[in-house]
Structure formats: C-alpha cells, structure tokens
C-alpha cells in the first residue's frame, strides 16, 4: 500500500472553522486516527467536514470521521467533497450509525453479589434433586430391561468394558503399586521408632485392602471413564443424536446409560481387585528392602493379619462407586446444551462431582462399618 496515513485538522476560514481530512482512512491506521480524532478540540464548532484529499476509506475510517463530526460542539455537520467512488461506503456507514454501542450494563452492587450466591445455592439444590430423579429413572429403566432382557444392548456393554476396564488396567496397576510402595516406606520409617517395623505389614495390608485400593481405582476411573461418558453423550447431544434416538422411540436411558453403568459395575470391582494385588505387591517390595524379611515371610504375615473381611470391606464399595461415577457421567452428558463449550463445562463437572460423591459415600461406608463393628 502506498497510501499516505490519514490526517485530520481544524482550519480557520473566513466563514468559520472547517474540519479537513485526507490520506488513507483505513483500518490499517485506525489506532493513530482514533488518537487524532480524540485530540481535536471538542468545543470549537465547525461548519463542515472537507474530505477532498481522502485517498482511501473503509468502514473503520468512515466511522471515525462520523465520530469527528458528532462530538462536542460539532453535531451532525455535513460532509463535503468526498470523492464519488467513496460515496456509497460513507452512506452505508452513516445510515448504520450513530447508535452502534449498546447501553453498558450497570455496575454490579452488593445486592447482585448476594443474589448470585443465592442463585448458586439454589442451583446446587435443584441439581441434587435432578440427579436423584435421574437415579429413579435409571432404576425404572433397569427394571424394564430386566423384565425384558432382549432389550439389553450387549455390544455397547462389551465396548465399554474394554474402554473402561481393560484399557484402564495399566494405569490403575501402576498407581496402586506406587501407593503401596509409599505407604510401606512411610509406615516403616515411623514404626521403626517404636521398634515395631514388622507392623508395617498390618498397616499396608489393611489400608490397601479397605481403603486405598478401591478409592484410588474409583478416582482414576472417575477421571478417565466418567469424563469420557460425559464427553461422548454430550457430543451426541450437540449433534442432536440424542434427539434422533428419542424420535425413533428409543430411550436414551436404555441405549446410552444402562450399558455404561453396567460396564462400570463389572469393571470397577475387577480393577479394584488388581489394584489390591498391586498395592500389596508394592508394599511387599518395600518391606523386603526396608524391614528384615523375605517375600515369603511378608506373604505369610499378611496371611496371618489380614482376614477375608478386610478384602470384602473394600470390594463391596466397588459396585456402589461404579453406579455413582457412571450415573453422574451420563447425567451431566445429557445436560449438555448446544455448544462445544458446554461439553467442556459438563465434563469437568462430572469428574468433580464423581470424585466428590465417591469420597462422601466412602465416609458413609466407614460409619456403617463402624456401627456394624466390622
């Protein structure tokens, strides 16, 4: 571009001041032109705007000229001598203006803030109710499928078992092994002060079987599969696939939700079992290295101190956590509306709520077991 950058000035004539503008009034120079227009004295009236020397103009430039002719003392002064080839553009911009700025939203007050907090609390409450209602629908749909087992969808079930179970095995195993290692290491260090290192075995065995194995598995699965459920169903929601299902008389609960929940009910206990094994293995490796015992002694001692009850206390939670994670994932997926952004928001929410519920229910289980003195 060889155009001269635009300029504007106030020239005093015999019949009063005239605004003169020339050069290229284009978006390329818009920041500089904006400064020039703003620095014009606002209290000097002008008779007209002379555009005889304009070389190029676009909508941004025309807009700034329009602003120059409607500021301060200069209201709606006429434009003169605009080269004819720029006429249509200038007219177009002038008819679109002058009101192109929406009214600014008013300042937020403390009342707005309080109202927002209230709305947030109400939101949490209604969402909790919705989730409980969703659980109810799920139970009814499950009842229908059990009464008529041919409606159960086996192939999606197998696909989800592969995705949520088999594919998760390496990461769950690795994490559990490492946590077993860390537990044994920290435990042995503390217990050595009381000359009771051998109790490390009790500690590792009981904490891995009762809590760590299942809790870590559930958290990994919530992050991995709960989020995947939300994203899958949410994307289907955005592309109207869920609506398509409904119009065909297919219940999304039966087609989408039940196979996913069933898959997690099957895979979470299996993953937990592997997590238990790997956790105990990790603890064993550390015991061999830090406490004076062979691996055989470790297994023997484990056999003495850990009863089958400890194992079942952990395992019994797995199907419950599976239902929580899968239901929250599907629930948030079906709540997706319209945009891709909404898929992201709901996926985050599914993971956070999934983990939150898992921990709440873990605490409830602890209370239950202590009442039952298990």
């Amino acid at each position: 571009m060889t155009d001269q950058p635009g300029w504007i000035k106030l020239a005093q004539g015999r019949e009063g001041a005239v605004l003169q503008a020339g050069g290229a009034w284009t978006v390329e120079y818009v920041a500089e032109l904006d400064r020039q227009v703003e620095s014009l004295p606002k209290d000097t009236p002008a008779r007209a705007l002379d555009l005889g020397e304009i070389e190029a103009i676009d909508t941004a430039g025309a807009w700034l000229l329009a602003r120059a002719t409607s500021q301060g003392e200069r209201q709606e002064i006429p434009w003169q001598n605009l080269p004819p080839e720029f006429q249509p553009l200038a007219e177009r911009v002038l008819t679109a203006g002058p009101k192109v700025i929406p009214d600014r939203p008013r300042e937020r007050t403390i009342v707005d803030w309080v109202a927002e907090v209230g709305a947030g609390v109400e939101n949490v409450w209604t969402e909790t109710l919705d989730l409980i209602a969703f659980f109810g629908e799920f139970v009814l749909a499950t009842g229908r499928v059990i009464a008529n087992p041919r409606r159960f969808r086996w192939i999606p079930l197998l696909v989800h078992i592969e995705q949520t179970g088999i594919n998760a095995l390496p990461i769950v195993s690795l994490i559990s092994f490492l946590v077993g290692v860390v537990l044994a290491y920290q435990g042995a260090d503390q217990l050595r002060q009381f000359n009771a290192q051998f109790l490390t075995v009790n500690m590792v065995g009981i904490s891995v079987l009762r809590e760590m194995g299942i809790l870590l598995t559930a958290i990994v699965v919530a992050g991995r599969s709960g989020s995947a459920f939300t994203a899958q169903i949410g994307t289907m929601q955005v592309s109207e696939e869920v609506d398509a299902l409904r119009t065909m008389g297919l219940d999304p609960m039966e087609v989408l939700v039940i196979p996913r929940v069933a898959a997690l009910i099957i895979t979470l206990p299996i993953l937990t079992f592997f997590a238990d094994l790997m956790g105990l293995l990790g603890g064993g490796v550390m015991c061999v290295l830090l406490v004076d015992m062979t691996f055989g002694q470790y297994v023997g001692r484990l056999n003495d101190v850990v009863t089958a009850t400890q194992f079942w206390v952990g395992m019994v939670k797995a199907p419950v956590f599976a239902i929580l994670i899968a239901l929250v994932g599907c629930f948030e997926g079906l709540r997706v509306t319209g945009s891709a952004e909404s898929v992201g928001i709901m996926t985050t929410r599914a993971v956070v709520e999934g983990i939150f519920l898992v921990i709440i229910f873990d605490a409830l289980f602890s209370i239950l077991f202590s009442i039952l003195s298990i």
């Binding site: 571009m1 155009d3 920041a31 904006d34 909508t59 602003r67 177009r92 679109a96 952004e341």
Partner: protein
C-alpha cells in the same frame, strides 16, 4: 492512488491430489477486482479444497497462486499474516467461537492487531453488526442463542472485521429458508457494492447465481470453466448442460421450459 491490477487472484497450473486421487489438474483461474464470482461443481469436485488452497489452509502439490499480486507460496509467516488480514472468510456454519459473545467474535481479528483501543473495538463491532443488518442488542449474545441465519450474519460481520478487500463465502445461503437466503444474497450484493469488495462464493443456490454473481466458475474434469451465465449455458459439456438446464434451473428461471 496506488496502481491496482485488474485481477485480485491469479491461479496458474494448480494441482491438488490426495493419495491416488487427483482433484485439480492444471487449473487456471483469474478473479477480477470488484466482481462476484460463483463457484459451482458436483459433490467431491474440489470446490472447498480450491477455497482452502487459496486461503492457505491447504498446500497445493503444484502451481502458483497470486493473491493481491503476492505469490503465496513464497511468503514468510509474517507476510502471510499481513496478507490474511486483507481477506475475510465466512465458513459454512459460521464457525463462530462458541465461548465468545458476538462482539468478541467480531473483535477477535482486531484484537490480534494489538493496537486498537477497546472502546474503538466496541464501536467498530457495533458498526459491523449494524452493517450486516442485525440489531445492536445482538452484540452481547452468545452464538448458541442465535438462529442459523443470524449466525451467518455474525460470521459475515467477523469476516468484514478488518475491512478486507476480498471476501470468501462457503455456501452462504445453505440451510437458510428461501426468504432468508434471498435477503442474504441482497446483503452480500449491497455490501459488495458499497464497500467495493471482491467476492468469491461457493454455492449450490441457483437463485444466488442468477441474482448476484457476475461470473460463474464451474469445476469439471479437474479443471475450471469460467464465464457469465449466458456463456456457460451455451457450453456443450454434459455436466454443465444438465446443471443449467435441469428442473431446478428451470425453477430458478434460468432455462426456458
């Protein structure tokens, strides 16, 4: 006035191939300043690929593309970015950023420039919204709150954000009702005339071809044929014949019954 050549885009010997499949084979095309060029062709004939190649989203296997006198193949990143501000693209479904409001969508290309004050950007976004025929209240809305036709208008406003010289439109009237499509055609035509734009539009809408296109480019046999509607209707090529003389062409008032 700087000297301006008559052609804003010149394509010479363009070859595009994907694996075994050759999509364009030595394609030549000149697009003149200030015209509305309609691009038509059967499904899979490479209309969208041609558009993507011109705007630099697809690297051609062979051939030269000159946009506004610059050979795109030889430009470095910085020069290409500068060139990109001189054209605007309207994608088929608007391709609006769903996390941004209408005003922020329109301001996105301006913000990239970095030197425009926020207040001015607000004004310019409002101006663009008015120019494409939307009410000013639309600026605060998010794309998910807009109808399909409004999304296209916002997409057009965003394409015009930096006052480009060239406007690329990918099926601008697809998915609009006939009244909305006719309105959109008129909007494109009036903006093109008042802002002095060169418009390249891929379209299947025979009404758009008749009402607003100065010339039509037909993609057949991996090459392109350009002409006015009258010239193309005399072309003996079977695909062109059936395109411009089919029942839908008659409905659009192109061919005689």
């Amino acid at each position: 006035m700087p000297e301006r050549s008559a052609n804003v885009i010149e394509i010479r010997g363009l070859v595009n191939r994907f694996g075994e499949q050759v999509l364009h084979d030595g394609l030549d095309l000149d697009i003149r300043r200030g015209e509305v060029l309609g691009v038509v062709g059967g499904s899979g004939s490479g209309k969208s690929v041609l558009l993507r190649t011109i705007i630099g989203l697809n690297r051609p296997a062979e051939g030269d593309i000159r946009v506004l006198g610059q050979l795109t193949r030889e430009l470095d990143d910085e020069a290409l970015r500068r060139l990109q501000t001189r054209w605007g693209v309207l994608f088929q479904n608007g391709a609006l950023f769903s996390s941004l409001t209408v005003a922020e969508n329109i301001q996105a290309p301006m913000r990239e420039r970095g030197d425009i004050p926020q207040e001015l950007m607000d004004e310019l976004a409002g101006l663009k919204v008015k120019l494409v025929g939307l009410p000013i209240e639309a600026t605060a809305k998010y794309p998910s709150q807009l109808s399909g036709g409004m999304k296209k208008r916002v997409g057009l406003a965003r394409a015009l954000s930096l006052d480009p010289e060239i406007l690329f439109l990918d099926e601008p009237t697809a998915g609009l009702d006939p009244i909305g499509a006719a309105d959109f055609d008129q909007l494109i035509r009036s903006l093109q005339q008042s802002l002095g734009l060169t418009v390249i539009m891929i379209t299947h809408d025979l009404d758009s071809l008749v009402t607003i296109c100065d010339r039509i480019a037909v993609l057949v046999d991996r090459k392109i044929k350009v002409g006015t509607l009258e010239e193309l209707m005399r072309d003996p090529h079977p695909w062109i014949q059936s395109y411009f003389h089919g029942p839908r062409a008659r409905a659009a008032g192109i061919a005689a019954d």
